[in-house]
């Protein structure tokens, strides 16, 4: 057979039969998991640097696609597309702030990308949903060598290896919670994220998280200062300072963007506190 040279020479796509096999292949060959490939394509084209192996994930694997309610809350398969999330009735019930014309999902990329892109891909790339997942105290289910294990979602968690595979995200029952999420982009739609900011109020405590240019992270110090501030001598100025320092510590080095995040968080806090 004649050799056909392409820009993607020597790329092999491995198609495992199960999630467990995918993990085994990744450990053996060091390949890159691929599902919607919306992030992979531009980043590989940019450097014309394609990995030698892709390991294709299959949305038909049990638990990898779709939404399911349980006593834990809502379990969302990692290969559920962003488009599905934006229209699913359970999402409207649990997280109405994501759906609808002005919901966060409609601000993620363009329609074509949303139809291909998956929840798992968005989380692994530190995409817009990461901040919300952090603030919700969502948990990820991983496929390991052993039994699937769940863990709290922590970006670059020391135990989270590049060969680990997310099978699902489990969010707690947040139907009675107040949730605000805001994407700061450069334009109305299809914009790279400057910052996505999430604030959640469960009736007792506020939880806050960010992702974007400075990287994803939960704002635990600021949360504590806010939640416990009323009982201590923390002033607004103190809280601003604590938040600013925490953001900078997480990697948010642009002071003007930290200012925007602070203003959004204050706005979200006021919104979610309204009526208490």
């Amino acid at each position: 057979m004649a050799t056909v040279m392409t820009d993607r020479a020597e790329v092999r796509v491995l198609r495992p039969d199960s999630a467990r096999e995918a993990v085994t292949l990744a450990r053996q060959h060091g390949g890159t998991y691929v599902a919607g490939a919306t992030w992979l394509q531009p980043s590989c084209e940019r450097g014309r640097n394609w990995p030698p192996f892709f390991i294709a994930l299959d949305a038909r694997w049990p638990g990898f696609r779709g939404l399911q309610e349980s006593h834990q809350g809502l379990t969302i398969g990692a290969l559920t597309t962003l488009d599905t999330l934006s229209h699913h009735p359970l999402m409207k019930e649990y997280l109405p702030c994501l759906t609808g014309r002005n919901g966060l999902m409609n601000l993620l990329a363009g329609p074509g990308v949303r139809r291909l892109g998956t929840l798992g891909g968005n989380l692994m790339a530190g995409g817009d949903l990461t901040a919300l997942a952090f603030a919700l105290d969502a948990r990820i289910q991983l496929v390991g060598d052993d039994d699937p294990r769940g863990d709290r979602l922590v970006w670059r968690y020391p135990d989270l290896k590049s060969t680990d595979l997310i099978s699902a995200l489990v969010i707690p029952d947040c139907r009675r919670w107040r949730v605000a999420v805001e994407k700061l982009g450069h334009r109305e739609r299809f914009s790279p994220t400057r910052a996505t900011i999430a604030c959640v109020y469960d009736g007792n405590r506020f939880r806050m998280a960010v992702c974007g240019e400075g990287g994803p992270g939960r704002l635990e110090i600021s949360e504590a200062a806010l939640n416990d501030g009323a009982a201590s001598s923390t002033t607004t100025a103190d809280w601003y300072q604590a938040l600013d320092a925490e953001l900078e510590g997480l990697g948010w080095h642009d002071a003007r963007l930290r200012l925007a995040i602070r203003r959004v968080l204050v706005h979200q806090h006021e919104e979610l506190s309204d009526g208490d």
Partner: protein, 757 residues
């Protein structure tokens, strides 16, 4: 937006009736069915070319070894500077850019070699096998100090500098009651056309070469390409095919030299098509400008003095930089306003930054951003309404231009201003303390048609009746999306009262009539003038020949749909008429020396002038500083509208381009390297960012105006940016002098203002 308009002003709307709406071709274009030059993949024997580009912004080229690349699979030729048969230089104004670098590379993206292979992938693989040894040199990256840095070309880094002045500036400033001084910066904007640079070079059996490419001036390109290929100009043909956008970015040669040399070397057609990464890297951009403006007025608000110092960064090679500098300076004199004394000084410099050249607006809109911002700043200092301040200083119909040249407007600037002042956009909602701050602002601009400043500027066209019985109209212009064919077709149908199916418009062939470049908003003027003369001649010739053939009185005959009519009855169809006429008898050529001020020895500026006022309404996010442009209302005075859909498209499209320049578009550089490489990093406005727009036309064109139709390709971009920044100021109290507007900077300023209140 409400649609209240005074009776004398028309508001353009997209017509849906077939006779007024866009032609069928436009829908083919929208559907993606129109073939562009880079779609010519079924050209027999086609090879694919790739260009190896410099990895350094500035380096000595020690060695280029192509031996390994020549052995790669599918490779037919690898060429370097040594293989250029003729002149290894090109450039519209100054031929300073090498086709392939010899001893030095001057920007990241400079061409070093090119490969032709059976497939694009093979060409790229071979390109990667070319061994290049560089000796990096410190890059010259700061335009302001570039002329004091080591020279990038013989003669130093200062390509051009020019002063325009009038009056005693010092004395005028001494009499000013108020003076404002500000620095402005505009971005390195990218054309971001839909179809990136590309096309095919096709050698013929006689040693000639035909280029089917996206370009803007086939005739001019022939001269440059003939010199590069070492061929007689008669041996080179350029067919400027309909291309997916240009906006000035295809005015300079792009892939043609490398494709032509590879085609000569292999004897086979070669296509080169830059991908978006390569287009971002090697393509022309808009000149970033740094300008300091000092403007003063008396206590009554009359502008007395105006001083400008500007630097334009043209990058490694000149391209059209000298002409951009000239147009920038012309606009920097504040041509709409009477100013007693000015000194406008500008420098154009070489750096190791990316290439800059022609771009819609051509330096004018950068200058207008600064000038109009100065108007608002002076008005504020004076405590005067910005509209009143402008009204105090605007020139009147009949006044000479800022450089004492005669100008021909089609309406009074004060009337354009008056209509802008009456825009419904000023009636915005009261601020109720919500998240989004609202503001409305306006700016004015003037734009000339033609190359200007007495540069050679002429062109022609041809109309004939073909043996198939259709009117073939030929111009040398390129169609890069402005759909000028439709405008031409309509003019012909109007002049000959025929049907669009009777008309065949042929554009962009260098073997046809030379119409000059498709730039400088000159095409419509030229087309109208040529057809105004040619159509009556052809009509008379048609009727005379029909009279000879039918025996009917010539005076009683007239052309109409499908043929010649006598008393509203078709008596001879066009095919029959053509078949009974000696070929060449029904051909009319006409041309035009582009109009310049009639009473000047060496004309300055541009004679045919257009006016625009743009009113912008914005919303600014109190939380993030992001700006949304909600509405744009343009009042234009640009002669008669002959093709409403085209007029509307030009004004609205240019305005969105200006919006991008104002809010998001920039190709920042660091150490001579671009910091963005594709459209996921370089952010053009999307449909969701495009505001509601209204385009009003004030047509006071005199009945005896010999140039009642003007070109509007650039007018819409002229005043958008300063209108937006004025609206931002109205919303936030913060004036932005650096584009694109940084939400972070704006927010920091807003926070500082809040803290001080």
């Amino acid at each position: 937006m409400a649609t209240e308009t005074p009776d004398r002003v028309g508001t353009l709307a997209m017509a849906t009736e077939p006779e007024h709406g866009p032609a069928k071709d436009l829908y083919r274009r929208i559907d993606g069915q129109l073939d562009y030059p880079t779609d010519l993949l079924d050209t027999p024997g086609l090879l694919h070319g790739a260009i190896l580009r410099s990895a350094h912004a500035h380096a000595r080229l020690i060695r280029v070894d192509v031996s390994r690349a020549l052995t790669m699979p599918g490779v037919h030729a690898v060429v370097t500077a040594e293989d250029v048969p003729g002149l290894n230089r090109f450039g519209i104004v100054v031929r300073d850019q090498p086709v392939f670098c010899e001893e030095r590379v001057r920007f990241e993206g400079d061409a070093i070699a090119a490969v032709a292979a059976d497939s694009r992938a093979e060409a790229r693989a071979a390109m990667a096998a070319i061994d290049v040894e560089y000796e990096p040199l410190p890059p010259v990256t700061e335009a302001v100090t570039a002329d004091r840095q080591p020279p990038l070309h013989d003669g130093g880094n200062l390509i051009a500098q020019e002063v325009l002045d009038r009056g005693d500036l010092e004395a005028a400033f001494a009499r000013c009651s108020f003076i404002v001084e500000n620095e402005y910066r505009t971005p390195r904007q990218m054309h971001a056309f839909m179809e990136t640079e590309g096309g095919v070079a096709i050698p013929d059996a006689d040693g000639g070469m035909t280029f089917r490419v996206g370009c803007q001036s086939g005739h001019r390109d022939v001269e440059q390409l003939a010199d590069i290929l070492g061929l007689e100009t008669e041996k080179v043909t350029v067919e400027a095919m309909a291309t997916g956008g240009a906006f000035g970015g295809k005015d300079e040669l792009t892939i043609q030299p490398a494709a032509g040399i590879l085609a000569l070397k292999t004897g086979r057609p070669v296509m080169i098509h830059l991908d978006r990464f390569e287009s971002c890297l090697a393509g022309i951009k808009r000149h970033p400008v740094s300008v300091r403006m000092t403007t003063g007025c008396d206590a009554e608000g009359r502008i007395l003095a105006h001083q400008v110092e500007a630097v334009l960064d043209t990058g490694a090679y000149a391209s059209l930089g000298p002409a951009v500098l000239e147009n920038f300076l012309d606009h920097a004199t504040a041509p709409l306003y009477r100013i007693e004394a000015y000194r406008v000084f500008g420098r154009l410099v070489y750096t190791n930054n990316g290439l800059c050249g022609a771009f819609r607006g051509f330096g004018g809109n950068q200058a207008t951003f600064a000038v109009e911002s100065q108007m608002d700043a002076l008005a504020e200092k004076l405590g005067m309404c910005p509209q009143d301040f402008r009204r105090t200083n605007l020139r009147s119909l009949g006044d000479t231009g800022s450089r004492d040249q005669r100008v021909r407007w089609t309406a009074s600037p004060a009337e354009v201003l008056g209509l802008a002042a009456a825009s419904p956009l000023w009636r915005w909602q009261e601020d109720v303390g919500g998240r989004w701050l609202q503001g409305t602002g306006m700016a004015m601009g003037s734009q000339g048609n033609g190359l200007g400043d007495g540069l050679p500027d002429s062109g022609g066209g041809r109309i004939c009746l073909t043996s198939e019985g259709r009117f073939r109209i030929e111009f040398g212009f390129a169609d890069y999306g402005q759909n000028i064919s439709d405008a031409i077709s309509r003019m012909v149908c109007q002049g000959l009262e025929c049907h669009p199916d009777d008309v065949n418009v042929v554009l962009g062939r260098s073997k046809g009539p030379d119409s000059g470049p498709t730039s400088a908003s000159r095409s419509s003027v030229l087309v109208h003038s040529v057809l105004s003369r040619a159509l009556p001649q052809l009509k008379a010739a048609l009727c005379q020949r029909a009279s000879e053939l039918t025996g009917l009185a010539q005076e009683a005959l007239s052309p109409g749909p499908g043929g010649i009519f006598y008393r509203q009855e078709k008596v001879l169809d066009y095919r029959e008429l053509a078949g009974n006429t000696v070929a060449g008898d029904l051909v009319v050529d006409a041309d035009l020396d582009f109009p310049v001020a009639p009473d000047q020895g060496q004309p300055v500026g541009r004679y045919l002038q257009l006016l625009i006022a743009t009113v912008a309404r914005v919303e600014v996010d109190r939380l993030s500083g992001r700006v949304k442009v909600v509405d744009l209302h343009h009042i234009t005075a640009a002669g008669k509208v002959i093709y409403p859909a085209g007029y509307l498209g030009q004004i609205e499209g240019a305005a969105v381009m200006g919006l991008g320049m104002a809010l998001t578009e920039d190709m920042p550089m660091q150490d001579g390297c671009y910091q963005a490489d594709n459209l996921d990093q370089y952010l053009i406005p999307t449909f969701q960012d495009a505001p509601t727009q209204r385009v009003d036309v004030l047509d006071d064109t005199a009945d005896d105006d010999p140039f009642p139709v003007r070109g509007v390709g650039e007018l819409g971009i002229e005043a958008v940016a300063p209108a937006i920044t004025a609206a931002i100021e109205a919303a936030t109290g913060v004036r932005v002098n650096r584009l694109p507007v940084s939400p972070g900077d704006l927010l920091a300023e807003m926070e500082a203002r809040e803290s001080s209140q």
